[in-house]
């Protein structure tokens, strides 16, 4: 009981000052490049244009369906909004070695990283994938969406266009 009160107190006191994920910056943690080098998420940038961050895994069928669907339209999206797509693979040590071959075979043109220790997933509060975020030109998280059903890429595109216009 004491713990619950403590927790509620914390929640209340913090909420007064801080804001949630929306309109906040992407948290800084280390991810890995496809060849295993450490890379800081603070270096994610797209010259003032929006970024889409997509969490996926080689074993996740809806994730792949979503990235395929986006891939079909990526050139057009880039032309219209200047967006850059960054994918974060949540594959662990077991399937991590398959991420780069999978990606290359697919011919996806996204920038891609690995998060084997789940640091970025935890920091972004990602519990399941696919999970998509839109980051605006100022580096702030402005939109997020969990799970994928066919047609969700249209929702993402609509949200992206709004962000790009601002």
């Amino acid at each position: 009981m004491k713990k619950i009160i403590f927790l509620l107190f914390l929640l209340a006191s913090v909420n007064v000052f801080a804001q949630g994920m929306k309109n906040s910056k992407v948290p800084t943690v280390q991810v890995k490049t496809m060849d295993g080098s450490a890379f800081s998420t603070s270096k994610f940038s797209n010259n003032g244009k929006p970024i889409i961050i997509d969490f996926w895994a080689t074993w996740c069928k809806p994730c792949i369906a979503e990235l395929d669907a986006i891939s079909d339209n990526y050139a057009q999206w880039q032309k219209e909004t200047g967006v850059k797509i960054i994918t974060i693979s949540v594959d662990d040590a077991r399937t991590m070695a398959k991420v780069a071959p999978f990606f290359k075979e697919k011919g996806w043109l996204y920038e891609s990283y690995l998060d084997p220790n789940q640091d970025f997933q935890h920091a972004m509060q990602v519990m399941t994938c696919p999970y998509v975020f839109i980051i605006d030109g100022n580096g702030q998280i402005v939109w997020m969406h969990t799970s994928y059903m066919e047609g969700d890429e249209d929702k993402l595109y609509d949200a992206l266009k709004k962000v790009a216009k601002k």
Partner: protein
Amino acid sequence: MKKIQLIVSLLFVSVVNAQSLTDGQLRGSIEIDAQTYRHDSLIGAPAVPEKMGLNSFAQLDYTNGKISAGIRYEAYENALQGYDARYNGQGIANKYLRFADSTIDVTVGDFYEQFGSGLILRSYWQYQLGVDNSIDGVRLKYNICKGISVKGVIGHQRYYWGEGAGIVRGVDGEINLNELIPHWDTIKTKIILGGSFVSNYQVPDNTTYNVPGNVGATAGRISINNGGFSFYSEYAYKINDPSVVNNYIYKPGQAFLLRTGYSTKGFSFSVSGESMDNMSFKSDRTATKNDLDINYLPTLPRDETYQLAQIYPYATQPNGEMGVDAELRYTLPKESVLGGKYGTELDAEVSAINALDTTNLNDLNTNRLGYSVNYFGVNSEIYFNNTTIELKHKFSPKFRMILQYVDEAYNKDVIQQEVGYQIVHCNIGIFDGYYRIASSNTLHFEFQELLTKQDQGNWAFGMAEMNFGSNWFAGLLDEYNYGNPIANQQIHYYTITGGYTKNALRVSLGYGKTRSGILCVGGVCRQIPASDGFSLSLTESF
């Protein structure tokens, strides 16, 4: 322990109340999973006295510049069936305070860490599996110079609502040659070397055997990448570590891992091999199952995602196994004869896991080394064989499908520690189709059949799922054990689900019967008992 908790809490509050509060960011997530239980002796659903179960957590992370702090509150009222009842209860399961800049990164409290592939250390949280072996203590990461980084950890592991008996200590170093050696950053070949050492101390209090208090393990790894070519290998060695899992033998443990592949647009080929021998490494020598694992033994076979292909899933055998896995992926180009207008994707994977080639030393009353291993030999005892062929084809912007065929041999006696089943051979056929009726109206349907003359016999599975508008979805599925040799066990396990998704919120409600089975994530598995009732699941993050 209580002191640390108090210090972390105080620090947390002081961080929150520090000056530049308006710059602070608070993030969080909530997950709730509830299920009601109806006794059903036919499907084997047990009578649950409390009639329902609930697993939930709320994570809260506060970041302000280089400092971050967080807590996770968990409640199991009571834990869902299939989760360990020792989770029952509620409280703060995880708390930490962290300082991180570009050179140094210190965490005090509970943290997750992995060295290399995790062969000698991996602490992680897998909520679905009920696995949380976080380390409560101190972690330090330090970038010595460009290309060289080290990390050190020390602490006790989470054990349900308490902590394991052992103190886990570990160091890991990594050298990125391309970053370290001048002018190598432009070289196409990327080489990374790594090494680690982990030791667990537990009071040697066993009355029957003279057990070591300190158990050390070491590992070395190399990763080489060049364009489409990749190579990764890791070797680990653990000194004698008599435990309940290995029946208190004094044989050292070894693990070897190799992964290599080549890929280019439209084609990839990868081969993996591994050998694990007596590599269960826990921070308490009396712990069993998934409790207090210090390390992680990655298994080779693919994680099956289709319902019937999950009936016989493989779980890593920590006492010993060796295996190979090869996968080929190929895309038939668009506008070709076989590729059709949108291209056809082909994926073929073969895995074979066998027992180690061992010779019993019959020395349990003397040296207790247990057995010797011929690492270059192959034991004919099959643990698991799997061949999967998958074909993906898009017919039009409206219709696409996936066809999958699986041929599997599953050593039920070894993997599920049962007696009298031996090796179950089965064939599975899967059809998975998506038909887009309108922009946000897609019908998703699956038909699957599993054929086997053993165990529970044949299964059929049908599923239809549809999304309505941009937020709502509903589905119906039936899993039918029509080939069960026992007539009254030829049961329909049907489930109806519906739900709502918006932004980060996902809520789903279901009603139906679930067969007893095994849920595996990454070769780590847990039993799921049969159940009959309503289920509710909610996830939200902010």
